[in-house]
Amino acid sequence: MQELVTRAKELLKDGTVTRVLGWKNGDLSYNPEPAFFETEEALSDFVYNGFCGANLSKYMIEASKKEGKTLVFLKPCDSYSFNQLLKEHRVDREKAYIIGVGCKGKLDIEAIKKQGIKGIETIKGAEMTDACDTLEISTIYGDKTVSYDDVMLSRCYSCKGKEHVIFDEQMLESRDTATKGRFDEVEAIEKMSPEEKFEFFRKELSKCIRCNACRNVCPACSCRKCVFDSNKFDSAQKANVDTFQENMFHIIRAFHVAGRCTDCGECSRVCPQGIPLHLFNRKFIKDINEFYGDYVAGEDIDAEAPLTHFEFTDREPNEERG
């Protein structure tokens, strides 16, 4: 991690960048927050470890409006989001200096707590320099250990890969973390009967409190004003007063990001109710791949996006899958 700080300081010093966008130490051992650093001194708070799951690319929309370049640290999956934003003219490439940082899989504190671990004081083993096999956790209820691979964010188990699709330079090594097929969960649902599917999503979505965390964290949901906040469309919705609105919000949100969602998994990470929101986006990704050929949003800035493109021979909407 220190090399990141050193490099950031160099770039600040030589005037390449005016500010640094990274992560800052939290007040607990597991809650670093996204932060802008404008001075070399401020960088003493800089951190990059297993808990730095937040995707910083969306912050680059605001950073692009500022004077001077911003040094941004992007993990491999974050770089897709940045590229997609670039494709949609939401970020300015000229205003960004991108260091593609390696990633060894990001940790999910909820998953750690689910293991019955509480009263956490310190966590060792989450640093990028560590082997990333075991986390040693000391708590007020005694010391615990947990395997790194058991407590990652669910997205890391179906990681898209270690490559950065856009960067100015790369630092730190990445690690393979994928153990599951990306569409395993989607396929499992597809196999259910309509009743089971309905039941499954009803159960998950009835937890939704419409806090909008999924939307606001999503790099694809970068509208200046969301249709669900806008009275212009007659579609404003502030709460899930009815089960319909729970469905509506998530269907339309997924539809609006279909073909643009890079599957960064932030929606599922931030949901306070643990709703596997990525299941919506992945369903669309899977359908798009199946129906219109493989497409990875954010991979190629010049590729034709599936929903703003077509083929004469596309399948019919009523057609049976097969």
Binding site: G26, Y59, C211, A239, E266, P272, G274
Partner: protein, 343 residues
């Protein structure tokens, strides 16, 4: 004081349910929230923090106020009925009990919110003391003793028993109704447990949090602090903190077109939202910094100023756990005390 064996709790729940609707922590799709007790519900009383606070029971996320219907050219208005049946909220923690006190300040002071009042009048709070507080807890900073919650009934889990102590008339009435399942007990075991828990509380990472510097005439000083400009930056402007908070009480009133009429309802709103208190001329606060500042100024300065020094934060730590950007009120408090210390 009474007690009941843990394994007999289902009988207790069933007994309560005979006469009163029962709300308690229920696990559904891997998350624990307050919900209505049914025979097949997965009760999770041992959960320290439900995702949402129990404020829903008195101040639901959305509720209909009245319905207008159009028949021919005539409109009819049907007000929503007020709560008229007693109900029990079981397992509520000390911090959340305090949270309801905060809501009382808002909704029971003039003009009284009749919907809220009806629910408060008919709701019986059965509190449950904490045994194993967690790293994000900081209720002590607000003078809350999580081992001794004050509600209609206070309860404790000690070994294989739930200890039961009615504290109010409503609590006594509920105790009467379930008396056949309870047995008399002394409070020695409870006292032991309380002492043990208090020791744990002392070890929690947020124990040192102090609200010094927030009381008194600090409004202008805090409001104008340059710290806000830094603190708000990672904020995504979502409503997670507000919606999991046991004391956030802002709501919006909206109309829903049902086709043949209009249903007027209110729903939680969040001061973090860009359209919060949007008016014809625009917004009061049009930057996220202002909105961010508003939330914490309200909790720590404005509310106490109007409510005899009572903060509208109870240290439950839900925002600490749930903020997508790892922001929270503790970080705010700490940032200011650091600044104060450096002065």
């Amino acid at each position: 004081m009474f007690k009941i064996a843990k394994n007999n709790l289902p009988a207790l729940f069933r007994k309560i349910k005979e006469q009163r609707e029962l709300y308690l922590p229920i696990r559904a799709a891997e998350q624990v929230n307050y919900g209505v007790y049914t025979e097949d519900a997965d009760v999770a009383l041992e959960t320290l923090k439900t995702v949402k606070s129990p404020k829903d029971a008195f101040f639901p996320q959305s509720e209909t106020l009245y319905t207008c219907n159009k028949e021919e050219n005539k409109w009819s208005i049907t007000p929503e009925e007020l709560q008229s049946q007693e109900f029990v909220v079981f397992g509520i923690k000390g911090c959340d009990v305090k949270g309801i006190e905060v809501l009382d300040r808002v909704f029971l002071s003039e003009p009284v919110d009749t919907f809220y009042k009806a629910r408060r009048d008919h709701g019986i709070l059965v509190a449950l003391a904490c045994n194993e507080p967690e790293d994000s807890c900081f209720c002590k900073a607000f003078g809350i003793d999580c081992t001794d919650p004050k509600a209609d009934v206070a309860t404790w889990f000690v070994e294989d028993y739930l200890y039961w102590n009615p504290l109010t008339d409503k609590g006594n009435a509920l105790t009467e109704a379930v008396k056949e399942l309870l047995e008399e007990a002394d409070d020695s075991k409870v006292k032991e447990q309380q002492e043990a828990t208090k020791k744990i509380v002392e070890k929690l990472p947020y124990m040192s949090i102090s609200l010094d510097g927030w009381n008194g005439d600090v409004l202008t000083e805090k409001f104008e602090s340059p710290l806000w400009e830094e603190l708000y930056k990672p904020c995504l402007a979502c409503g997670t903190c507000t919606f999991v908070c046991p004391t956030c009480q802002c709501y919006d009133i909206k109309d829903y077109n049902t086709g043949n009429g209009v249903q007027r309802y209110r729903c939680w709103d969040s001061c973090m939202y860009s359209d919060f208190t949007m008016m014809a001329h625009g917004n009061n606060r049009n930057s996220q910094m202002q909105r961010f500042r508003q939330r914490f100024m309200h909790k720590l300065v404005y509310f106490p100023a109007n409510n005899d020094g009572m903060y509208s934060c109870v240290g439950c730590g839900r925002c600490v756990d749930k903020c997508p950007s790892a922001l929270n009120i503790v970080k705010v408090i700490k940032a200011f005390s650091k600044e104060g210390g450096e002065k």
